[in-house]
């Protein structure tokens, strides 16, 4: 347990200090959201309607952007080999790394979302609904994205291949995340149904993500 706690602490420290680059995700999130009014026009009514979708898309792309650092830095300096060989189960180590990554890169996105909601003319209720769905949904993005990160580190290919592999897996999260936000704001559907499915997706990814990532690290590194 202490080994995992140490791993989480170390990863968060590395991510937040100089050269970590976790907060670049927030900057990217801001830039994507600012780009949208230029693309669809500064029509406030339209932006209000599209707001949850824009925030979700921005958060998805921002979390994708930081994903390839998840294992790559450890692979470059050799500590990934130590993690793989250590006595701690690799699945738990992967889960710990993903949790640390989510705390360092995912949580700032959720904190930034209400501020960005102001730019998109969302009222307080809608903003909190979007932030709540992001809180429930972004762990699923990190934990499924970890599979792609593990695959790309074993293949020595990052970038576009990672995006191509991870984006299809994140579609269900996007669908139910936006559906839950829309339901809370305007929709005829109840908020609970899509929100529970979103939570279920996150829970499933907590199991599948670490197992698949550990399997691909074990089979891929040699």
């Amino acid at each position: 347990m202490t080994a995992l706690a140490a791993l989480i602490q170390r990863d968060i420290k590395i991510a937040l200090r100089v050269g970590g680059g976790a907060l670049i995700g927030v900057l990217f999130f801001l830039t994507v959201v600012v780009l949208m009014p230029f693309a669809v026009g500064p029509d406030l009514a339209l932006l209000t309607r599209l707001g949850p979708a824009i925030l979700w898309l921005g958060a998805l792309l921002a979390s994708l952007l930081t994903l390839d650092r998840l294992f790559m830095a450890d692979h470059e300096d050799g500590s990934l080999d130590l993690i793989v060989m250590s006595r701690t189960p690799l699945e738990l180590a992967c889960a710990a790394k993903a949790l640390a990554h989510w705390l360092a890169a995912g949580l700032p996105l959720i904190i930034a979302a209400p501020v960005l909601g102001l730019l998109l003319n969302l009222d307080a209720a809608s903003t909190s609904a979007v932030a709540l769905t992001l809180l429930a949904g972004t762990p699923a993005l990190t934990f499924t994205g970890m599979i792609g990160a593990a695959l790309s580190v074993t293949l020595h290919r990052g970038g576009l291949l990672l995006a191509v592999l991870v984006l299809p897996l994140s579609i269900p999260v996007l669908i139910f995340g936006v559906a839950a936000s829309q339901a809370a704001i305007s929709g005829p559907l109840s908020f609970g149904t899509p929100f529970s499915i979103l939570c279920a997706l996150s829970l499933v990814s907590f199991v599948i993500g670490p197992i698949a990532a550990a399997a691909s690290l074990r089979h891929g590194l040699d």
Partner: protein, 279 residues
């Protein structure tokens, strides 16, 4: 001719060919080979090639016969009282849609073969199946969209089943991209196997999407509890077409596996040659 006859012929052939090299085959090995031909015996690529070389013409002929019979039956099938002649798109659309999921199932089994049993031909099977599966999925999407235009009034609708099949198509393309991005086939095979198994979660979602969510796409009418609701006049041509498409897949898959094995041999020879050439 049954399966055993082929097996016998193939063994005879391979034994005859290898006579010069290994004239004294240990008796125990010979007994295993002739007693039960398991999947492991197929691990020898040479034996696989000889077996499929004999099997393929028969499979191709059977596929052609069934496909012609199915097409004829579909052509003479009565029009639907509601949908008119457009119902005949079903005979192409439904087998393609079934196969699109079946091929991913085959790839998942092959992925288990790669990761668990380390079967040497499993990754060949997985790699050869991906483009074929992508083609079936693409055809299912295209025929479905052509059927949707007269029936639903739109080529595309973001409903649960259409969306999940589209995701399946994207995952096929991602898998092909993964295979093509990595030079070393063994390394690519393990990565692709893990991605295939993760993607297999999509299969039950596709199958049950029309039951879980109330959508435009009609619910299951053939494979369901309580028997099919489809009329016999439509059901029989549909099943013949489904059998024909399954055989088509088997034929194409075996041929693609042969090509892949030969391609790897050529690559290995080229590597040896390149190494031997003086710098």
């Amino acid at each position: 001719m049954g399966w055993t006859d082929y097996r016998f012929d193939a063994d005879q052939l391979s034994l005859r060919r290898d006579e010069t090299k290994q004239a004294t085959l240990p008796a125990a090995t010979a007994a295993i080979i002739t007693d039960n031909m398991t999947l492991i015996d197929l691990a020898n690529p040479t034996r696989f090639l000889t077996l499929t070389a004999r099997l393929l013409p028969w499979l191709a002929a059977l596929t052609a016969i069934l496909l012609l019979a199915g097409l004829y039956q579909s052509a003479v099938a009565p029009d639907d009282y509601q949908q008119g002649a457009t119902v005949k798109i079903m005979f192409i659309h439904v087998p393609n849609a079934w196969l699109s999921m079946f091929v991913w199932g085959v790839m998942s089994l092959a992925a288990l073969g790669t990761l668990v049993w380390r079967h040497p031909l499993a990754d060949v099977a997985a790699k050869a199946a991906a483009p074929i599966g992508a083609a079936f999925t693409f055809l299912a999407l295209v025929t479905g969209s052509l059927w949707g235009r007269p029936m639903w009034g739109t080529y595309w609708e973001w409903d649960a089943r259409l969306t999940s099949v589209l995701i399946l198509f994207l995952m096929y393309l991602g898998l092909i991209a993964l295979w093509r991005a990595v030079e070393d086939p063994a390394r690519a095979a393990r990565a692709a196997a893990i991605l295939t198994l993760v993607g297999a979660i999509n299969l039950p979602i596709i199958k049950f999407s029309v039951d879980w969510w109330n959508t435009l796409h009609q619910p299951a009418s053939v494979i369901r509890l309580g028997g099919p609701t489809l009329d016999r006049a439509f059901l029989i041509p549909l099943l013949v077409m489904a059998a024909a498409f399954s055989l088509l897949f088997a034929t194409l898959h075996l041929a693609a596996m042969r090509n892949e094995i030969l391609r790897r041999r050529v690559r290995a020879l080229q590597m040896i040659q390149a190494r031997q050439r003086p710098a």
